[in-house]
């Protein structure tokens, strides 16, 4: 055997981990530096037996986020869940898939309920117990938006995680304010002269969160676990209102193959449609750079909700419009600029 310390030194010098930079685990780095998901001791806050669809991005995102938060807090964590798919597929009587204290109240009040939980912990002198609220995009960007904004502006000690699958999937795929233009939903059918969701609608709740000036806002996707976990852990290291929006593809609602869930989340970032960034106290501080730029069509094509864009030779005009949106993101969030050197 070679001198183990020599190896360790070489490893330290060499930050290149071919098989560990993007994968879940990496046998070459110490346990403490590996992702939470790689750990045999991860909490599996969301465990087996839940009733999510095959390849559910939300189930994945929720476990990623909660396990990371569980590690960050040493298991001193309470989750509040808005009504929605995540709630329904995890807690149908008589079984729950949660292995952490968890509360579901209503569709639109998760942020406020979480404020109450955090207040209770504060007043009970259990400051080590932290609170997370979570919900889908409907429960966050639409019906829960008032409570969310209130929680933000009071700077309550809550991390709100929105699992963004771009529509009301639980109720049968209706449009939400997070549904992208042209996407087919049950309420924006692929019919008429401009099939699918219309351009010029929707909102960026991460941006709105940034406008609240809260300590921490981030977006993430299930395709980049390390980034996601880092953000959740970072968020748990901060007190006050925090917001993370995680892009979670939905095979059912998007009309995609169950095995494409992660690929689509990846393509959404790589084409610029879903910018992944971080902001602190009202200022965008970093963005995750695009590694392998792709045109939006590559992201859209595997999804049946966009199938009408590719029919009969393709709707080049509206595809161009979508590409323009992605291009704007690329400019706005500097997605193709080289990574700033860490200081």
């Amino acid at each position: 055997m070679t001198d183990p310390t020599a190896t360790a030194t070489a490893n330290q010098k060499l930050h290149f981990y071919q098989k560990g930079t993007f994968t879940v685990g990496n046998r070459l780095v110490p346990d403490t530096e590996r992702s939470v998901q790689a750990s045999i001791d991860r909490s599996n806050a969301l465990t087996c037996g839940h009733r999510a669809c095959q390849g559910c991005g939300e189930a994945l995102g929720a476990r990623y986020a909660m396990d990371a938060a569980m590690r960050a807090t040493g298991g001193n964590l309470i989750a509040v869940n808005a009504t929605g798919c995540l709630e329904v597929f995890t807690t149908p009587y008589p079984e729950t898939s949660w292995q952490m204290p968890w509360l579901h109240s209503l569709f639109g009040n998760a942020a406020a309920v979480a404020t109450g939980v955090a207040a209770a912990m504060q007043v009970k002198g259990r400051k080590e117990v932290r609170t997370i609220a979570q919900g889908g995009d409907g429960g966050t960007t639409d019906i829960g938006f008032g409570c969310l904004s209130g929680m933000f502006e009071r700077n309550d000690d809550v991390l709100y995680i929105c699992y963004d699958n771009e529509g009301y999937m639980n109720t049968g795929v209706q449009r939400s304010s997070a549904t992208p233009p042209t996407a087919r939903t049950a309420t924006t059918p692929a019919m008429g002269p401009e099939p699918g969701n219309v351009f010029g609608t929707g909102k960026s709740v991460p941006k709105i969160a940034v406008a609240h000036g809260i300590p921490y806002v981030a977006t993430a996707t299930v395709a980049d676990l390390h980034d996601l976990e880092r953000k959740v852990m970072k968020a748990m290291g901060i007190h006050g209102a925090r917001y993370i929006q995680i892009h979670v593809p939905c095979p059912l609602g998007w009309g995609s193959a169950s095995h494409d869930t992660i690929r689509l989340a990846r393509l959404a970032v790589e084409c610029g449609m879903f910018p992944v960034f971080e902001a602190e106290h009202g200022i965008v501080t970093s963005s995750r750079k695009i590694r392998r730029p792709v045109p939006v069509a590559e992201y859209l094509k595997p999804q049946r909700r966009f199938a009408h864009l590719f029919k009969d030779g393709g709707d080049s005009q509206r595809l161009g419009h979508l590409q323009a949106i992605a291009d704007r993101n690329i400019v706005e969030y500097k997605l193709l600029e080289p990574e700033e050197e860490a200081g």
Partner: protein, 541 residues
């Protein structure tokens, strides 16, 4: 009731809901054959030793490597790297620098004095190996490791065969070669030099050998019928390169023409440059693209000032001048004469047109088949005469050190089986890990490490090794570029990406197991496995 009825539920109680019943396709873990391993004539388990090298455990890597090839320091210099040609990484950025890591490991072993693993027990069987070239040495090594007594008869004064007499020092320093030969001899292999076997059966009988492995190489230069004037100086490449190892160096004159398009031609031309020739010109009848020599060697030769004359044949030689005919390629790519002639000044002409085998030791062996100047062997490497096996350049094959080393290993396994009255059955080969089975997103961007080379002035005037090795950090880097095609490297992706937590992690070295109670068969693990180590199979319903 512990909690309020129905609205409050006990933690994790959904474990009672076995969602595995939803599944129509089930994932299974598989091992697929990495293309590098598949392409390696020496049968190296490249990925396996890279795996150890990645973690900086070079001795384990070297030990894994020497399971198949006892001479990594040599191979790391002279192998033409079919592994790298096959490497899936080439489709991402550049092939993994397998060869350079191999050399690093070999050099590291020499530097640190690692010893090859001796046999556990002696079988009492005696095997005769004829020829101490790559095949012979490899066979001797493998046979010795299997516990047999091995004696090598080498016709020449020193072991190494073509590695010594065919490959110039600037490509393979002799101390490296000597060290690795010594590793093998240190296992207790007996080497008899200057011992040409005239008749194999006699030698076997005399030495009480139970079997023999013949690997005498191809040392007889092929001649071309070139009309020549009396004063024309015509040499052959084998002779030239061999004499480089002796006291009397060959005399080329100022202008040397080498005739041929193989690696040997390049070796001679480059040697001539180093010996002081002002001009070294390679004359070849076809184009550069069709040269059998390896491109990197052509490149290096050109860098060193070797000149090339394509589409030319030599018609005759007179004192100081050659007559050359221009050729054109026909539709099928064959060169055809044009009738246009030119002259070329040359003090000497070296013919590098290939080599033949001296098969005289096989005279009178019954059942033996010789065809095309080489000995025919069956799939077990055995000649038509039971107990006599053959390999290397003397059997039909590509004539490279790597192939030779592979032959040695293969023959050793068959000899061992034959001695036990059995037939060696190689393990079934796994399905090939094609590029399309990989998910290369997960591999970090990293282009190949460029090995440092000697400066040009010294390259042209000395026989110092042209290509330098890697240091530890870039060897590690290079090892880590391996994609581990087809074989789980415990990246935890399946464990992480399963939305149903249906993958059980068994801990370091033990890989994973699917929990079919909960696996819904979504294919995500298969899609996101970087190295193609998961396969979906339909459930039987």
């Amino acid at each position: 009731m512990k909690h309020p009825f129905a609205i409050t539920l006990d933690s994790g109680s959904s474990l009672a809901n076995l969602t595995g019943s939803w599944r129509t396709d089930r994932p299974v873990y598989v091992d697929r054959l990495p293309p590098c391993n598949h392409a390696c004539p020496a049968g190296e388990n490249i990925q396996a030793w890279l795996y150890h090298a990645e973690s900086g455990d070079y001795e384990s890597a070297w030990r894994a490597l020497t399971q198949d090839n006892p001479m990594p320091a040599v191979m790391g210099r002279v192998c033409y790297q079919p592994c790298e040609t096959a490497c899936n990484r080439a489709k991402v950025d550049d092939a993994v620098g397998i060869n350079s890591v191999e050399r690093f490991l070999g050099d590291e072993a020499i530097k640190r004095g690692w010893r090859l693993t001796p046999p556990k027990a002696e079988t009492g069987k005696r095997i005769l190996v004829v020829g101490a070239g790559p095949s012979g040495l490899s066979a001797a090594y493998h046979l010795r490791r299997l516990g047999h007594t091995v004696v090598i008869y080498e016709a020449g004064p020193v072991a190494g065969g073509m590695m010594r007499f065919g490959i110039p020092k600037y490509r393979l320093p002799r101390d490296v070669l000597d060290a690795e030969i010594q590793h093998i001899l240190d296992l207790g292999v007996e080497l008899k030099v200057n011992s040409k076997v005239e008749n194999i059966r006699d030698t076997m009988k005399a030495g009480g050998f139970d079997a023999a492995f013949l690997a005498v190489g191809a040392h007889i230069a092929k001649r071309a019928n070139i009309p020549a004037g009396a004063a024309a100086k015509i040499l052959d490449a084998v002779q030239v390169l061999r004499s480089m190892e002796g006291q009397e160096k060959p005399l080329f004159g100022r202008r040397v023409v080498v005739y041929g398009g193989g690696n040997t031609a390049l070796d001679v031309a480059r040697t001539a440059k180093r010996m002081g020739a002002t001009e070294a010109i390679i004359v070849y009848r076809r184009t550069r693209e069709r040269m059998p020599a390896h491109d990197f060697e052509v490149e290096e030769a050109l860098e060193e000032g070797v000149m090339m004359r394509w589409l030319s044949t030599i018609k005759r030689m007179d004192e100081g001048v050659l007559t050359v005919e221009k050729m054109v390629l026909d539709d099928k790519g064959f060169p055809q004469p044009t009738g246009e002639f030119e002259t070329l000044e040359a003090d000497s002409l070296v013919l590098a047109l290939g080599q033949d085998v001296d098969l005289s030791l096989l005279d009178g062996v019954p059942g033996l088949e010789l065809k095309g100047g080489v000995a025919q062997v069956d799939t077990n490497m055995m000649t038509g005469y039971a107990g006599i096996f053959a390999g290397g350049d003397m059997v039909p094959s590509e004539r490279t050190v790597t192939v030779g080393i592979g032959h040695g290993k293969k023959a050793a396994r068959h000899i061992d089986a034959w001695l036990r009255g059995a037939v060696y059955a190689p393990p079934e080969k796994h399905e090939l890990a094609d590029f399309d089975k990989l998910n290369v997103w997960y591999y970090a961007d990293a282009s190949k490490t460029v090995r440092p080379t000697l400066d040009m002035a010294r390259r042209k005037s000395t026989f110092e090794e042209v290509q330098k090795g890697l240091d530890e950090s870039n060897a590690l880097y290079e090892a880590r570029r391996c994609l581990s095609c087809g074989n789980c490297f415990e990246c935890d992706n399946c464990y992480g990406v399963c939305p149903d937590n249906a993958v059980i992690k068994l801990g370091p070295g033990n890989r994973f197991q699917f929990n079919y109670d909960y696996c819904k068969g979504c294919w995500l693990c298969e899609a996101e496995c970087p190295c193609g180590a998961i396969k979906m199979v339909p459930e039987t319903i």
